[in-house]
Symmetry: C2
């Protein structure tokens, strides 16, 4: 489900507030992400989401079939943007270690900029249906970072006594855990991105 | 609730399998942790837990009042062991940076050794009631690591251009995220602990 099944106006809903289908769909995803992030996916019902939107629960069925559709769309949206960003950085100029540093910084900035959707992604990924979890896992964001780490090891910039996979899980962990503690007024996103990337790259650098 | 309210045998339960109260309580916590870790706290009912134990749901009320009691006991158990370990390491011999390295390695080994309980701790902490969440947060495990990082900065072992708090969140993140990807057959716990601590300490070392 990537597009609403039908234009909102064409259906003659009973809601007083009418919006074009695209806007309404964006609202549904935004409200779903916010409720899933705040109270958890399992504890959030379609009734909660409809109430928060000020529409009838039945109206949600113009857009989706099950609650899993909403979880999938929120996670998929955050994931595809992240993959596009890391692919762009991986294909950009510079040594592998320079691109790796930019990829880690970009990961952290993307996570904080879209923290509601990424919180749902990072916290509720295992609640997806098996087929959808496998579909998204196959896109293999992690594998892209492992390749960058391995390339930086091959060019001699990073130490090779730690496996590229384990090193990547260390970098990803420090970055992903941000959704658990970040709040505005802590360090700035730019500061966090710069410091975390620097600790990792220096920690992995050949002495 | 730290002790069962009454000995199991004294109550004359209808269950066929009789166990001393201490063993039964340990079983209840173990099964609760396993179900919370696997399917999530919200999705797990007291009925599930009783079914898995092969007892009547009503029998659980000899031990607890609400499901939140079980979440609290599982999390508190894992947390108190972690705090005792880090306090012992912080008070041990050696420079601050040596103790910090051992504290990070100890954190990771403890997490993997007790991964079911720590998964519940790390994933479901926010589902605790407000009072209990605040009570446990006040024990301030993170603050102990921040102090070690600050001491290592003061002794001149670690760079001081990154704040002790931010550096600690980076180390904690890479360590805590392990519950999301660890499986037997990946790297050994010892390898993960050594490599992750080394990346962090070298990344924070004064050049």
């Amino acid at each position: 489900v990537t597009e609403p099944r039908t234009a909102w106006r064409e259906r003659g809903s009973r809601e007083t507030e009418r919006k074009p289908a695209g806007e309404r769909w964006a609202d549904i995803l935004e409200v779903s992400a916010r409720l899933f992030a705040k109270q958890g996916y399992t504890a959030t019902s379609l009734q909660h989401i409809a109430d928060e939107l000020g529409i009838l629960k039945g109206s949600l069925y113009y857009y989706i079939t099950t609650k899993d559709d909403l979880l999938y769309e929120v996670i998929r949206g955050a994931y595809l943007v992240g993959i596009a960003r890391v692919d762009e950085i991986a294909a950009s100029e510079g040594t592998a270690v320079e691109r790796l540093r930019r990829a880690i910084e970009g990961h952290i900035l993307h996570l904080i900029e879209t923290i509601t959707a990424t919180t749902v992604f990072l916290h509720e990924f295992d609640r997806l249906s098996d087929a959808r979890r496998e579909e998204l896992a196959a896109l293999d964001y992690t594998g892209r970072l492992v390749k960058l780490v391995a390339a930086a090891q091959e060019e001699g910039s990073l130490r090779a006594d730690i496996s590229a996979t384990l090193a990547t899980m260390s970098a990803l962990g420090s970055a992903n855990w941000i959704y658990r503690w970040y709040h505005e007024g802590a360090a700035t996103p730019q500061q966090i991105a710069r410091d975390f990337a620097d600790i990792f790259i220096r920690g992995m650098s050949v002495p």
